[in-house]
Symmetry: C2
Subunit: 455 residues, 2 copies
Amino acid sequence: MAIDGLMDDLAFLGERVTRARPVLEHHGQSESHIHSRLPDAVAFPLTTEEVARIAAACTAHGVAMTGWGAGTSLEGHALTPRGGLTVDFSRMDKVLDVRADDMFAIVQPGILRERLNEELRATGLFFPVDPGANASLGGMAMTRASGTTAVRYGTMRDNVLGVTAVLADGTIIHTGSRAPKSSAGYDLTGLFVGSEGTLGLVTELTLRLHGQPEAVSAATCGFPGMEAAVNCVIATIQTGIPVARIEFLDEASVQACNAFSGQNLPVVPQLLLEFHGSPAGVAEQVDRFNEIAQGFGALDFIGAKAAEDRSRLWKMRHQAYPAILASRPGATAVVTDVCVPISALAQAVSETQADIAASPIPGPILGHVGDGNFHAILLIHPGDEAELAAAKALSARMAERALRLGGTVTGEHGIGMGKLAFMEQEHGAAWSVMAAIKAALDPKGLMNPGKLVRQ
Amino acid sequence: MAIDGLMDDLAFLGERVTRARPVLEHHGQSESHIHSRLPDAVAFPLTTEEVARIAAACTAHGVAMTGWGAGTSLEGHALTPRGGLTVDFSRMDKVLDVRADDMFAIVQPGILRERLNEELRATGLFFPVDPGANASLGGMAMTRASGTTAVRYGTMRDNVLGVTAVLADGTIIHTGSRAPKSSAGYDLTGLFVGSEGTLGLVTELTLRLHGQPEAVSAATCGFPGMEAAVNCVIATIQTGIPVARIEFLDEASVQACNAFSGQNLPVVPQLLLEFHGSPAGVAEQVDRFNEIAQGFGALDFIGAKAAEDRSRLWKMRHQAYPAILASRPGATAVVTDVCVPISALAQAVSETQADIAASPIPGPILGHVGDGNFHAILLIHPGDEAELAAAKALSARMAERALRLGGTVTGEHGIGMGKLAFMEQEHGAAWSVMAAIKAALDPKGLMNPGKLVRQ
């Protein structure tokens, strides 16, 4: 079998390549409702050169390669529907260089988001992209992750300046430069960010860093209804207030978060906000936001200036997923993600709420509304096929609704295996262009097969 | 001949396709020192569908296709070294839609930058990317243009949300969505932006718009030396002051601008600045910049708050190129462009100044220093082969210096024909990946051949 030959060629990894059943099973699971066969083996490389040898060996034996970061993907990106080798980057987790003067860092893909920012703390800089989960930077780049701070600092597209990638045949390439911008040829960095491991295995990332804000202020702001909250977001963005975070929780989400985190936010649609800037700038932003919020009938604006209050607020937001899971005892979730033009956001959320209300399952809604991006956490009992079918149908209608309103079927979770069915509808002939690019870089179709492109 | 067959197939364009010599000659010229053969014919389409028919016909006859915007490229992007058909977009110059709520506009590629902003004025929004020349938006997208405001608002990479493109075989694709972000597949928008017409002909662009700033203030600030000015820029950026523009002029550039525009800026290295924000925010930015500038020995800070003073200042900056040309009577110029990590900027400028000083020709330096991007305008007498050789050698050494310092051979002018020779040095194996992508989308090599990729 191909895998036996591959294992011989990977002997140089010693104990860092394995076919042990528990390891395969760990890498055959995901945060999604998607199931797939297990990988045939798992490798734990330490260097770019090792990854290049692994890729060349996989190509020689015709074995598929799938990268693994922290296992937090929600669309089955790191699963192995065709088996093959999982390349686990958890031991490539170093910060290789920090250039504070030029405001970038070079990291290995396995480093986790929270640890990166711990390592950066003393430099006065930080990496802002925050998808909630303590994901790996490699995984975040591959799904083009974003999250709570994208409204101010952008997504991974905006914050990855270059990558080192290993192509299927073991060729090592470097994209981007260390200059702040370039017009020298195709934007290969941008092509790799969001490519879900289908073009190559990324082994290093150059990340744009930002100055830690001098002053930070957070707040919650309740509204009499979802439309008022969302319209307040639209006005805030259009006015150009550079909010660092502006998150929406519907009533069901607020209830779940209160119960889980011991908070007592009023159970109405809430915005959670953060403002970054100079002390005077932050104060001005807060005033301006407040003025807009009053115009939309805001019920209360509760500031959280002290670091510990802010930390409690964002801990609550980051725990929204387990909190919502806990709101239906024994439940698991189908987590969906769509993104629409901001002018269509109230309509998209309202139609989705009505659709969920008419379904047999609960589905709290929350999201990064400054970007037009929201999620429904569709709660189902494990093993209940009718509920799973209902959740999938709701999720599909959300995706179709987003497309009808000019949006996209995923703002930040990616396609993986979960949303392949919508790619043709969203992209038309451009999906075939993606397949052509994939075939040009990976002619044997060995890089994370079964994801993103038609194969 | 292939071109005769093509002309038959393009008869549907009526008088909007021509082989008239003056038209061919107009499209065989450029702002660069690069010469090439003339196109065989020029077409003036009006719609995406016409461009699709043109492309299909060119492919059927094996004729090359090269887009033409406003003819302002500095690296020969729109020249036709292999002849073929030039597709002139000057009649596709409409704003098709403005969605003020969602802060985007859909435009045809032939619209010129200044007219776009005139059409947007009443909406309270503007398109910020400003390369100086009154370029076409299509051309700006294809070279990944940036300019004076990129330090605040980003480059074309950041401000094009989607394109409609016609591939070589006439297939029409749409990239991007109208949502503010997406994780749905490869970033084809980013791939097309900066592709220099080598992957397809872009026929529509969705552009990100920004709110017109409530308050604007501009200033000039002179320094005792280049290093002081550049180090002040570095500190300003690192401090996180969101300057909207921060431009550098060396003494020779100041002298030329004074003479051409009737100004009397002190003949020392100057920074030209603009600040955008709320009235209080702008005042704070000015104060903070001033504090930093004092620390670097700034000689004078001359504010330009009134609209007419600002307009005079930026008119002078925009006329720097003709001003510098006029500083050596009868001269033409080799205009170069490099970009380096901002920490290497003082060294890059200083070594370049010394290199130019040791050469037989003058070469004022100016640039968008907030991005690490600067230009030398190398002044030569037309027909003087020795001077042209000296200018080319200086330009080549600038490119190599930029690479040595971790930068890129072009920050904003692009590769075109002028910088092909540096692509392998900058990108290594990644240049072959670009060629593979090109071949996947344009297997017959008919889209703007002789530019950007190895062919």
